[in-house]
Amino acid sequence: MIVCVAVVGHQNNPLYIQSFTDADDSLKLRHIVHCSLDVVDERVNNPKKSGPTLNETFLGLLYPTENYKVYGYLTNTKVKFILVTTDLDVKDADVRNFFRRFHAAYVDAISNPFHEPGKKITSKTFAERVSTIVKSFGMSSTR
């Protein structure tokens, strides 16, 4: 089950953060997202020896904490998407699919002429699309 998604801009400024649990641990989730930004920077600046994964947008599992798994995705414009999930067996293809749809929703939200780049995303349509994507992620992975 996805507990949190976040969009972070290229100066590490938060553009959108949304948690999907009822529990009141949004502070802890923000802390997890914040720590994962360091891991993203480290992955990008110190590439592993394997060449083919150097320029991919999908960064994969960033780090597993005791309850959560954190996945990262970095776009060409240095915008980071962070996904925090409690699922124990998450398929790689599912996460990639999720990020692809999330990226499409993000691009549509950014193309709004009234959206100011660098400010938080306030579009209700974006929030609805994200919650639809999050719900369908849960459906497809519980097989």
């Binding site: 320029n55 991919e56 414009t77 240095k78 499409a104």
Partner: protein
């Protein structure tokens, strides 16, 4: 997604935008009009680059990003690629388009403006030369916004001396 408009609508919008900024809002201050049009282009380029880099892997260096502008970005916008790319390998690139779409239908003949008396002919020629320049400010803004979004700070200027062929000079700031 999936709604489209015809190209003539985009042409008309650009023409009207340039005419509004030059003739009504900043009638006697062409530099301010130019910088406002540039800023509009910047925002458009910023958002378009976000959309067109969606499925691509990340760029490794500046040349890769400039090549993306020349090939994918230009073909999404104008259905053709940049015809010629030159660089001095020290941060300056010249992108040449032999038939730039947005000015290809503009009249470049100053005598069509009606007045044929001596001093008016000169003013008309200046005004006629200004119109495509203002359109080019918008295109420079689009390129600048796209490159800034990819992390490359640069200055873009256009060379309108051989319309409808147009060269854009991109200078990357160190």
């Amino acid at each position: 997604m999936g709604r489209e408009v015809s190209e003539s609508c985009v042409d008309s919008l650009l023409t009207e935008m340039v005419s509004m900024y030059c003739n009504r809002l900043y009638a006697n201050k062409p530099e301010l009009a130019a910088s406002r049009i540039d800023a509009i282009g910047y925002q458009v380029g910023h958002q378009l680059s976000e959309r067109y880099t969606m499925e691509r892997p990340r760029f490794t260096d500046h040349l890769d990003a400039i090549k993306f502008i020349c090939k994918d970005f230009w073909s999404e916008l104008f259905k053709k690629q940049i015809d010629n790319l030159k660089t001095n390998h020290r941060g300056t690139f010249v992108l040449q388009d032999n038939r730039f779409r947005w000015v290809s239908r503009m009249s470049l003949d100053p005598s069509e403006n009606g007045d044929l008396s001596q001093e008016n002919a000169e003013a008309a020629e200046n005004k006629a030369a200004q119109e495509p320049n203002m359109h080019l400010h918008f295109s420079c803004g689009v390129i600048k916004g796209a490159l800034h979004n990819l992390g490359i700070a640069c200055a873009v200027s256009a060379d309108p001396s051989h319309l409808p062929a147009c060269s854009f000079v991109v200078r990357i700031k160190p």
